[in-house]
């Protein structure tokens, strides 16, 4: 395992894992500036520990988990205002012209209304394409919690999107 505090290694690690972590942070927060801050914070935390790992490749997993944890705790602290979320939804609905675009934006608005943990589960499943077990590993919770969060999130999303089971 190389020492990540070595300049070249650190840069290479950052370039390799940073974009994915940034996208994940953005999907979890919806805020470009906040996602940059969260990603850098997560990278610092994990990079300081990297050489403690016998497997350098597990860096990606720890980074992913740290981003999700930071995003969740941030959203919990900030209690993302429902009003702001509603504004986002109505904004998404108002800006549509083509039907498919309208559907996508409605979905985005609905995702942003989900509680932090459910949103994390949805992002990890539908964007990161992780299995229930992998999501449980990232979130540090039992697989059953992942399944129930996904179920609840799907119900909320269906309700917002006017779909029925």
């Amino acid at each position: 395992v190389r020492d990540p505090s070595d300049g070249d290694n650190l840069e290479a690690l950052y370039l390799r894992h940073g974009p994915e972590a940034l996208r994940l942070a953005y999907l979890l927060t919806g805020d470009p500036e906040l996602s940059e801050d969260l990603m850098q914070e997560a990278f610092v935390r994990v990079a300081r520990r990297l050489s403690g790992l016998r497997n350098a490749d597990s860096f990606r997993w720890y980074l992913r988990r740290t981003v999700v944890n930071l995003a969740n705790s941030h959203l919990r602290r900030r209690r993302v205002e429902r009003a702001e979320l509603k504004r986002l939804v109505s904004h998404a609905a108002a800006g549509v012209s083509a039907p498919d675009l309208a559907a996508k934006q409605a979905v985005r608005g609905a995702i942003e209304q989900l509680p932090a943990r459910q949103r994390a589960v949805v992002v990890l499943r539908y964007y990161e394409d992780l299995t229930d077990q992998q999501i449980a590993s990232v979130l540090g919770c039992p697989v059953g919690s992942v399944k129930s969060s996904l179920h609840r999130a799907a119900a909320v999303l269906r309700q917002h999107l006017g779909q029925e089971e």
């Binding site: 840069e11 497997n55 490749d57 597990s58 999107l161």
Partner: protein, 380 residues
């Protein structure tokens, strides 16, 4: 309808991800914070490297680009010569961990998600198990209670494997990010980096093989994913990469009963406890700790170079010799504080003893070594 929602979610999230801001440069503050947490260890490493290269005990620095060490023309007690007796190629990308059970070796390959059974007597691979997907599966492996125990990183499950059949005969769920597994005192020990009961700190899980169940969980000193548990005669020693100090945990109460100021450095600590000494491989050298007091009683220079891309490992054989892997192999005789570089085998990442035979792992090959010890070396 559900499939339609799945598709909508997938598409919407990928569209949204495309709008994520471009990757900003790693900020100077972040760089500083990363380095600040590690500067001490690097400084120590540099000092050690300088000392070793000045011709202390070993006289050879194992830098990646350095020429492979050659045996001196005249006999030198600082060098031991190894002859390869057997070579077993492993169907792995890179072995992650190795454990021995009788005359078989069990090799975990986290990179491909495989666990390999190797018959060391017959000198061939006899089974390949698939545990999890590549880079998600077996991260640590241990043997004990007649079974092989594998920690599956992605699921956080400890799998109990019947050595004869390779069948999974038990699954025990560990919470959080579990990264290390060991066996000792009749129990399997797993270390996990929270959360547990709302706390995100290191927890030690005690698993009873008789019940295939966790019988106790307790927070333990340490932080980060680079923690290891090393059971020994006195209890379970815990150490974490990047965290100064190791702790002795009572196997019954799971409480820390002793600490030692030894600083493992930034790598996952390699701790080899014996009755009379606890050996810890650190970036500052091989440290001997008095298990009764936790006091450091000696620090020995080794050939392992923490600045090189070398994975370290530490084993004490039945005769009391301490074997240090990490690119070159080196060893320390019982009762001696001089390390000896073993020539004839390079790129060693792990070392183990099976039925009195010394085996080493290069990451893709297991080698049986016959090590010639010159007469001028003190006898064990």
């Amino acid at each position: 309808m559900m499939a339609e929602l799945d598709d909508l979610l997938t598409e919407a999230l990928h569209d949204l991800a495309a709008e994520a801001p471009p990757l900003p440069p790693l900020s100077p503050r972040s760089r500083k914070r990363i380095r600040a947490g590690r500067a001490g260890a690097v400084l120590v490493s540099v000092v050690v490297a300088a000392g070793v290269s000045a011709g202390l005990v070993i006289g050879v620095l194992a830098l990646n680009r350095a020429p492979r060490p050659q045996p001196p023309k005249s006999p030198n007690p600082a060098y031991w010569t190894a002859t390869v007796q057997a070579r077993i190629r492993l169907p792995v990308s890179q072995s992650t961990d190795v454990a021995v059970l009788g005359s078989t070796a069990w090799v975990a390959d986290w990179y491909t998600g495989k666990v390999i059974r190797v018959d060391l007597a017959a000198r061939r691979v006899t089974k390949v198990l698939h545990i999890g997907r590549p880079q998600e599966g077996p991260i640590s492996i241990a043997t004990g209670a007649g079974s092989v125990w594998v920690l599956n990183f992605s699921t956080g499950k400890v799998l109990r494997i019947a050595p004869a059949t390779g069948a999974v005969i038990g699954r025990i769920q560990i919470r959080g990010a579990a990264t290390n597994l060991a066996y000792g005192h009749g129990f399997v020990w797993a270390l996990s980096d929270g959360p547990f009961n709302g706390k995100t700190e290191e927890h030690l899980y005690k698993i009873d093989p008789a019940r295939n169940a966790i019988v106790r969980v307790a927070p333990v000193p340490g932080a980060g994913p680079g923690c290891v548990a090393s059971p020994g005669p006195q209890g379970v020693w815990i150490g974490c990469g990047g965290v100064a100090g190791i702790s002795l945990i009572d196997p019954a109460s799971l409480k820390a009963v002793r600490t030692s100021p030894v600083n493992p450095g930034e790598y996952s600590p390699q701790i080899a406890p014996t009755q009379r000494a606890v050996w810890v491989l650190t970036t500052a050298g091989l440290v001997r700790v008095d298990p009764a007091t936790g006091r450091i009683t000696a620090t020995v220079q080794t050939a392992w170079n923490p600045l090189a891309d070398a994975i370290p490992a530490l084993t004490v054989d039945p005769s009391g010799r301490v074997w240090i892997a990490g690119s070159p192999l080196s060893a320390l005789l019982r009762g001696s504080l001089a390390t000896h570089l073993v020539t004839g085998a390079a790129g060693i990442t792990n070392v183990m003893v099976a039925r009195s035979n010394l085996w080493v792992d290069t990451g893709t090959t297991l080698l049986a070594l016959d090590v010639h010890v010159p007469h001028r070396s003190p006898s064990p």
